[in-house]
């Protein structure tokens, strides 16, 4: 099992001139430490207009900074919103190639389509067509990275023959992933030979079922890229403390804050009824965790907060249900002091990671 970091870059009010700079600088310090400690990857989301929840509209810039201060950790650009009003596919191919070059071939690319009216409405995008545009984008991207010249005439975008430069540094190209929040999207990932970038927290039984179906389905896939990425990546919270009770309490505070913030977003379906967004996705689960019967469960099922033993047990369980990688959210609204976040990372690396080193069962 591999471990990584996952950034939404939430910024608490009141906003001062330095609020965002502090959040970004703290994140970069965490990434630099994580690289030294042996974490495998750092992911950054693309979000727009999501006040306090995520001030991360340009993850490629943040990840470039990450790449410049690290040596080994892979940089996960994801998810990129594959909707033309947000990102033109040519620009996606070009910018990801530059990031792959600058990082020395450490790029991972996550794809998705946005799930909030706040963002879709902000870009005047049509929620009815985002699944289709995502599908077009992910089928084009590997060919744009690898063809000498590329031409395309699709339903949502077209281009005459051009050389899309620069080329990606990795051969044949960076691994591709799909953000999976709503049930069924893991099957879209599997059918295309794409990695499952899970963005839900907790719930072993549900995840185990979905992962098993993903594993079965991907064996029959027609890959959109030049190789099949059959890995399952999930997110989790991380707060590791020698004192288990204190670790649970601190982690719970972070998780509750995150879930409360997430619940403030306007899901696409809340405002704009569409078969394209039949499920409410991540938000109802987070609302339930923020205010429902799960809210007071100590630590929450499968959440990585508490002492090293508790966290090791949770991750062993995730490993047993088929998860290959876990990315951790380290803070929300800077609720945890930076020194404590760094200490948590160090303790995790010292006490938990060895149990998951290659060859350990």
């Amino acid at each position: 099992m591999k471990f990584g970091l996952f950034y939404e870059l939430s910024v608490p009010r009141p906003w001062t001139r330095d609020s965002e700079r502090i959040v970004y600088e703290n994140a970069l310090e965490q990434v630099k430490l994580a690289d030294e400690l042996g974490f495998d990857q750092v992911w950054a989301v693309e979000h727009h207009f999501l006040e306090e929840y995520s001030h991360c509209p340009a993850p490629d810039l943040f990840l470039t900074a990450c790449a410049m201060i690290t040596r080994r950790i892979r940089v996960g650009h994801g998810i990129i919103v594959c909707v033309p009003e947000f990102n033109h596919p040519i620009k996606i191919a070009e910018r990801t190639a530059v990031l792959d070059i600058l990082s020395g071939g450490r790029l991972e690319v996550g794809t998705g389509r946005s799930a909030t009216w706040t963002e879709l409405g902000g870009f005047n995008a049509n929620p009815d067509t985002t699944k289709k545009t995502w599908d077009e984008f992910v089928r084009c991207l590997p060919r744009m990275w690898t063809s000498d010249r590329f031409a395309y005439d699709g339903e949502f975008w077209s281009m005459p023959s051009r050389a899309i430069i620069p080329r990606v540094y990795q051969k044949p190209h960076p691994p591709l992933w799909v953000a999976v929040t709503t049930p069924g999207t893991e099957l879209d990932a599997a059918d295309r030979g794409l990695g499952s970038l899970g963005l839900t927290f907790g719930q072993f039984a549900e995840q185990e079922k979905r992962i098993a179906e993903y594993r079965r389905r991907i064996q029959l896939c027609t890959p959109v890229g030049e190789f099949v990425n059959d890995q399952v990546n999930t997110v989790n919270f991380l707060y590791c403390d020698e004192d288990d009770a204190r670790g649970v309490a601190t982690g719970r505070r972070m998780a509750d804050t995150f879930n409360y913030l997430a619940s403030q977003l306007i899901s696409a379906r809340e405002a704009y009824p569409s078969k394209s967004y039949q499920s409410l996705g991540l938000l109802p689960q987070l609302r339930r965790q923020a205010t429902g019967p799960d809210a007071n469960a100590q630590g929450g099922e499968g959440l990585c907060m508490g002492g090293p033993a508790r966290i090791t047990a949770a991750l062993k369980r995730w490993e047993s249900v088929g998860v290959d990688r876990v990315n951790f959210l380290l803070n929300t609204l800077e609720a945890i002091p930076q020194a404590d976040v760094l200490a948590s990372l160090k303790l995790f690396a010292r006490e938990v990671m060895p149990a998951f080193a290659a060859g350990k069962g």
């Binding site: 706040t118 409405g121 902000g122 409360y260 403030q264 704009y272």
Partner: protein, 245 residues
């Protein structure tokens, strides 16, 4: 933490509906026809939202006009203007103003669920390419809005957001949660179009509709349920919610 509403209770206290008690009986409302129109609204609408609630990001409002062919007080129609927000982690529509088509319905809605409702003319007219809602108060038109170019969608695609009203309960201002059930038999979606909205008559001075979002019209079985929660309008609902049943 998210922003909060900034409604000055003193400005609205005198006109709050008085809820008779919190032991309201449920109403079953079969075959209701519900027109819902959603727009983003101007940013400075926090003054219309109780301090217990968070404004939506971005702020938006819904006009909901419903024809109830059967109810304990007979057939009636109800028009509501709701400013959407969050009660804690939950999306809710705060009722700014409402108009019912019969005196019996208006009285019951004020006394049982705390709707700030007046009596007026409420009509819902279907044409081949649109569904038009019109509301008149004291003979004056105060709303004309429509769903344009309806197209069928699945009933399951429509998510109705629960309502909260601000009323006097035992003499004290309280937010009352009204959380109906919906069984949708037929649903269509179109574009919202606003021809007229006299905001002062809806207790919504300063509210401006900016960007259309979506419009739906459904036929469904619904209800006005027993009251389950009331909330202190002045403090965050995570601290100020009282479960009734």
């Amino acid at each position: 933490m998210p922003l909060f509403g900034a409604l000055d209770l003193a400005e609205v206290a005198a006109r709050l509906p008085a809820v008779r008690d919190l032991d309201t009986e449920a109403w079953t409302l079969p075959q209701a026809e519900i027109l819902q129109l959603a727009w983003e609204v101007n940013d400075d609408t926090q003054v219309l939202l109780p301090k217990a609630m968070h404004p939506a990001i971005p702020p938006y409002a819904t006009i909901v006009v419903t024809r109830y062919p059967e109810s304990p007080v007979g057939m009636f129609a109800l028009a509501q203007l709701r400013l959407m927000g969050r009660a804690g982690a939950h999306p809710r529509g705060y009722v700014l103003g409402a108009v019912a088509s019969t005196t019996a319905a208006a009285s019951a809605l004020r006394e049982r669920w705390g709707f700030p409702v007046e009596v007026g003319d409420v009509t819902l007219v279907r044409y081949h390419d649109r569904v038009i809602a019109r509301v008149r108060l004291d003979g004056e038109p105060v709303l004309e809005a429509a769903l344009v170019d309806p197209e069928p969608i699945a009933g399951g695609d429509v998510q109705y957001i629960h309502t909260v009203t601000l009323a006097a309960v035992d003499g004290q201002p309280q937010l009352v949660q009204v959380d109906p059930h919906y069984t949708v038999h037929k649903a269509e979606r179109g574009r919202p179009r606003l021809e007229r909205l006299t905001t002062p008559r809806w207790h919504a001075s300063g509210l401006g509709f900016t960007t259309p979002i979506a419009a739906t019209v459904t036929t469904c079985d619904t209800d006005f349920p027993r009251i389950r929660f009331v909330m202190d309008p002045e403090i965050p609902v995570v601290r100020g919610t009282r479960r009734i049943r």
